[in-house]
Symmetry: none
DNA sequence: CATGAATGAGGTTTCATTCAT
DNA sequence: TATGAATGAAACCTCATTCAT
């Protein structure tokens, strides 16, 4: 599996017809299942078989294996990022406590909705090509966090860019650790609380916080 | 690259003679170089060639490719963890601020001593087998952090285990982001400050902090 | 060429389509040719090339080299055994002389129909895995001989099982010797006569023969 | 394992010194053990290790692996053949019954003295190079049988050469079958009786037997 | 003489991708 | 458009053999 030029990673054709859409979804799901079962040793044939289509058909929708994996990762990560961004936008103008609550909640909820999918995708996400996608999505997310932070009602940030970057990057690790150690709803809730503490604590430290202190 | 049984990942023979040691080190360094140049598409022949030995020699020290990559990762990650652990032990009994300073400083220093090595190893670290090693090392580190935290002079932690886990997991992401975006000494210093803020802020939030404030 | 688990020796897919059947036959024939030319130092690539297909195709029908060789041997030995069994069944109820004639005739005919094939396959037949197949086939044959012997009109056998085993095992050696020394039709005929003598003589010795001699 | 020119199969140096003799014997024994444990997948290193010497030393006594295996086979087969030849010579002038008794007895005794050795050596005996040795020895044996047969007191053979060849070749198969199926002393005795019957019966059939019939 | 680290040709096998049907 | 047999480059790894120590 060598690296391909980035351009060749785009899906071969837009699945505009309904049937195509279904097929692509089936393939995505199949890829996840195989990933879960075999780790990174996925083969296109395995995915095709699991999806109930022929390899030929698979190659009608994806120019190559990389593109397939990248697409699967993008859909998953993109979904999580979208949810997080939405929450960030909704929290504009709030306090950093409310912001962190909203953001961590959205992130953890989205990431743990189907924990086994997240687990399956940690490996391919690190693969050379998907890696770029993950970074893009992270940047998109960081941007939203940044845009939110600067509207905080109770804090000002000197280095908002760096802060949002650190913030978003810092929550990924603990979340992964919890998911991979096979957490359940309860653990995920606890994680959420800790991530909020992590965020709030950090933001307090790096901001000229306007605490509700007297005088 | 299929998964191997964990047992087969151990080095084939201990490099006892001086010459062997040198050979193994050369192979490690070569592996890093090739990783840096080619990403995960390393081949054993490339590594051997770069190291100036034959494939046969390489296979005399490592039973298979996995074991080689795992060993390289282990050496690197282990070094970083060792440095961090040492710092943690030296900080027993201090305040959480001092603890975070010591720990973040040691971690970032060790991780960025040769940034290109860290960068090269992010990929193989995610590969199925090295992954386990990384987790082990992380656990070892978390243990040391835990042991340190419970001795904090100015804080008590209800869930010290979870806290140390979150703490250690949360600093990995930002560090990676900075390293991969090609940071320099200055950036690394800034990162350090932010990680300290992250840690201190988090620990304050989750602890019954004993602030030294009178009245 | 290490030993494989017996299960992995089965053909990978049944050649159901006509084209597949032809391909498999071509591969068999190619394997025999290469065996004849190179002895046991066959390589899968050689076989594929000789068959005019790619290695990949070869591996589509056989999971590994062992399986290929085993299949070739099985087809050959199986054919000889089948012919011998048929002859045995047709000779039920006859005299031991007639039985030996029928059996030796069938065996030698089948084995020497394409002497060069037999010659080519002596080596791989001894290889670890094919060995088991040869034994199975020998057992199948011994069973048929046994079933025939107990119906002999002019003899009774106290240890029919042992007798049939010895009988079948004893004719293999001389046949091989003759084939390997490059015999022709005439030699094969003479061999046949000697094997009949061998069989008849042996059966007379170990049976309570009912010779038709009066008085 | 490619074929070597026959000349390179000779031992590198005659083990004339006592120490050398011991070393060579140790190596032989080691080879048999490894053969027994691993089948044909013997490696020179394994043999050396088992023998407690270095590969280098092994190569001091044998020019290559083939030569080693060939020597092991030759020693074993040669021993069996020698014993058989001796028995044949001692039976000159006797009846065919006595001849067969003597010959089968010697052969089976020698071959089953250490059944596991015989079992271990069936595989390498078929390997390309040892094969030639086995044939030579078989020829040597057939010659002795021939020389014996022509002195039989109670039979004359029209095709003594063919007869002795068939005779010797026919006893190998049953013996192997019994040894490989894990026979014990009792089975070996029974085998002996059957081989005698096989031989006597055959010789009676193909000879103008001079039965002890009156006048 | 013994040692055993080093060599490297070459074998087996996989799997992404194509294209005739 | 779907199929899946065929392709073949290329990866991993072994092991007989050498030779400096």
């Amino acid at each position: 599996m060598k690296r391909k030029s980035a351009s060749s990673l785009n899906p071969r054709k837009k699945p505009q017809q309904r049937r195509s859409r279904v097929t692509v979804d089936t393939i995505f799901e199949a890829a996840i299942q195989v990933l879960l079962a075999n780790g990174l040793a996925v083969t296109t044939s395995q995915v095709a078989e699991r999806a109930g289509v022929s390899v030929g058909t698979l190659y009608q929708y994806f120019p190559n294996k990389q593109a397939l994996l990248a697409a699967v990762v993008k859909r998953h990560v993109g979904g999580v990022v979208d949810a997080t961004i939405l929450a960030c936008q909704a929290a504009h103008g709030r306090t950093i406590g409310e912001m962190c609550s909203a953001m961590m909640n959205a992130f953890v909820e989205a990431k743990t909705r189907r924990p086994e999918v997240s687990r399956a995708l940690y490996l391919p996400s690190a693969a050379v090509d998907a890696d770029a996608i993950v970074k893009e999505e992270a940047a998109r997310c960081a941007q939203a966090v940044h845009d939110m932070l600067v509207t905080a009602s109770d804090a000002k940030f000197a280095q908002a860019r760096m802060v949002s970057g650190v913030l978003i990057a810092s929550i990924v690790g603990p979340t992964r650790a919890v998911i991979e150690s096979g957490g359940n709803r309860a653990t995920f809730e606890k994680l959420k609380q800790h991530l909020i503490a992590l965020g709030v604590g950090y933001l307090k430290e790096v901001s000229g916080t306007t605490r509700g202190d007297p005088a």
